[in-house]
Point group: C2
Chain length 374, copies 2
């Protein structure tokens, strides 16, 4: 059960301030949703995550289904000792991305992205039917089936406050024709998800349609016509900001404004203000923790690469205006040393800082909306 | 500057309760000294270490000299933001162990340990002179020299409360003849260390002598005759408990009882009570954190291997009698999942628990001494 209240609509953009009430507490929107793929935000424990100003996490249905299994994980609030709001995605993106390799026939290649895809080591054979998708576990090669019913059953076992409908994610090189067909399937699955859900978890429907304005409009209108508690905006959002902006333009106006909107899997630091201005309330993103594990810290003036020796002489905090635990306790020279010495502790401290930094960044965007600046 | 006070001598053994005062606070002895090799207890940050009941840490002169360099690290209290007591070892063990390979001529092999040594990947060429030792950095192959003067200079730069004299550590297969010669060198170096030290850091002399009672007695008497603030007991302590016991019997009685005694690099859980009964006040040990990183947790009933799937169904804390942060917040099923899913967070949580568990274990030994039980 969730309640969502729009507290303020910007006069300058589609941005808005909202309050999301869940059985596990409140979320001020817009909000970043840090990613706890395997019921764990990488390098941090749940008590630490709370201290990064994170309000809500998203965990991964596909990964938890395979390991340790949704029955064993059970309610992941309890499993990971996270008493605050939580989402699970539907598993769709992960299952379908197993088939993004070139062997799988999605029609003719429509973009130059093929070379990127070819480099991926993902297994290439999945079989999509109208009921769902057969796939081989990348962990042990075992064959599994996942469709809307399975996804909802798993997500009910995992017990997050917000769950997502099972959708087909088309690969970047899919043809428009394929995407059209796929969209029909996603819409059928959306209806099934609503029908089979027994829990009182909030269910968000997912808008697809790749980068085609007409398909996005069609999908948004259709998903909006069903009894979802909120919306996910998924699939290929384009690599260019202008495309993302265009997609939001062709999606947001077709969605009931009283319901929350979650943009799936995006959120580089410089994307955030734009997607929020486009009308997004929630968005998940692995950037803060992923970059941390490569030795990169986000600061007001950009990024610091702490693998560089020059920081060994730098006794300033990562960001002097940051009030996080790491900036209060450690200096760049030590963080550089830990990074270069391959100490796990360094990855942890950078992950903490980056999450805190991103959450603070979004907090400031909320203040900008409050103060009519965007 | 340190002050050491023996608060109680056991009537049943050589065990004793003591209080060590340093410029960075107190240490109740006997005490475990967790290892912060690279100015970091692996997987934990300094604020976390404080919460594991750790009273004092030992950092590694050799590693910090090579990376980031003692000049760059500077005072490691400040560098790693650890405001409590701190030791550095002399670097001797690490430098000399570079030469433990079979190519290096230490005389005839005296034990069956050669096969273990042969399997090691350590570089095999160091050159020992009466002034110190030439070695190649295992990081980049650069040639360095370290002797008593260099070791003290580095340790002065690192600024720990307690530093150690530079000693030659003989390999397990060294002959008695070689060990005798080496001991003379170690004793000469001990005098040089005392002479060149300019800081007011406490300096501990190191007793060597391998497993030969006469050499241990000789070394203890000699080191005791110098103006050290305390003693380290180093070198080959034997793999069998009976040998360690014998070494302590031939060392402890020859040391001034008013000064603290540190046993270097030992401390498996079931060794602790014995070495404390043998008269040891302090001992460093990587076991709690090393085992944690292999997925092993220490509990009252022994060890748990959290890689085993059976723990995925186990919703008990690691140890129900443990009051550490991990046992208060997480269950075995989640810790097993994190371990199996190779999440860094799991390594951190197990390291935290193990350190807390070891420190609590030693706390109970202190209580036993207090209550005349050992």
């Amino acid at each position: 059960m969730i309640e969502f209240k729009v507290l303020k609509n910007s006069q300058k953009s589609q941005a808005r301030l909202g309050l999301l009430k869940t059985d596990h507490g409140l979320v001020k929107t817009p909000s970043l949703v840090p990613v706890a793929t395997q019921a764990c935000v990488k390098t941090l424990d749940s008590q630490e995550i709370e201290k990064t100003k994170s309000q809500i996490l998203i965990s991964n249905t596909f990964h938890l289904f395979l390991k340790p299994g949704d029955e064993l994980a059970g309610d992941i609030h309890e499993f990971m000792n996270w008493s605050r709001p939580l989402m699970t995605d539907s598993g769709g993106f992960q299952v379908f991305s197993l088939g993004f390799g070139k062997d799988f026939n999605f029609g003719k290649v429509s973009s130059e992205k093929l070379s990127i895809i070819e480099k991926s080591n993902q297994p290439k054979s999945i079989k999509i039917t109208d009921k769902g998708v057969w796939f081989f576990s990348p962990l042990d090669g075992k064959k599994f089936f996942m469709g809307p019913e399975e996804s909802i059953r798993i997500q009910e076992n995992l017990g997050a406050d917000i769950i997502f409908a099972f959708d087909e994610c088309t690969p970047p090189r899919a043809t428009k024709e394929y995407i059209k067909k796929s969209l029909e399937r996603t819409h059928e699955w959306a209806k099934i998800c609503l029908k089979v859900k027994k829990s009182d978890q909030a269910l968000f429907g997912i808008v697809q349609g790749s980068c085609y304005p007409n398909l996005r409009k069609k999908s948004a209108s259709f998903i909006n016509s069903l009894e979802f508690d909120g919306f996910g905006i998924g699939g290929d959002l384009g690599e260019k900001k202008s495309i993302t902006k265009n997609i939001l333009k062709n999606t947001i106006p077709y969605l009931d404004p009283s319901k929350p909107r979650h943009l799936l899997g995006i959120g580089k630091l410089d994307d955030m203000e734009n997607i929020i201005k486009g009308g997004v309330d929630l968005f998940d993103c692995t950037v803060p923790t992923h970059y941390a594990r490569t030795g990169t810290a986000f600061v007001n003036k950009g990024k610091l690469d702490l693998k560089k020796t020059k920081f060994l002489k730098d006794k300033k905090p990562l960001d002097k205006s940051c009030s996080c635990y790491v900036c209060q306790n450690y200096k760049r020279n030590y963080l550089c040393h830990l990074t270069r010495a391959k100490e796990i502790t360094g990855l942890k401290l950078l992950s903490f800082h980056n999450l805190y930094f991103f959450n603070t960044f979004v907090e400031r965007i909320r203040e900008k909306i409050e103060n009519n600046l965007i």
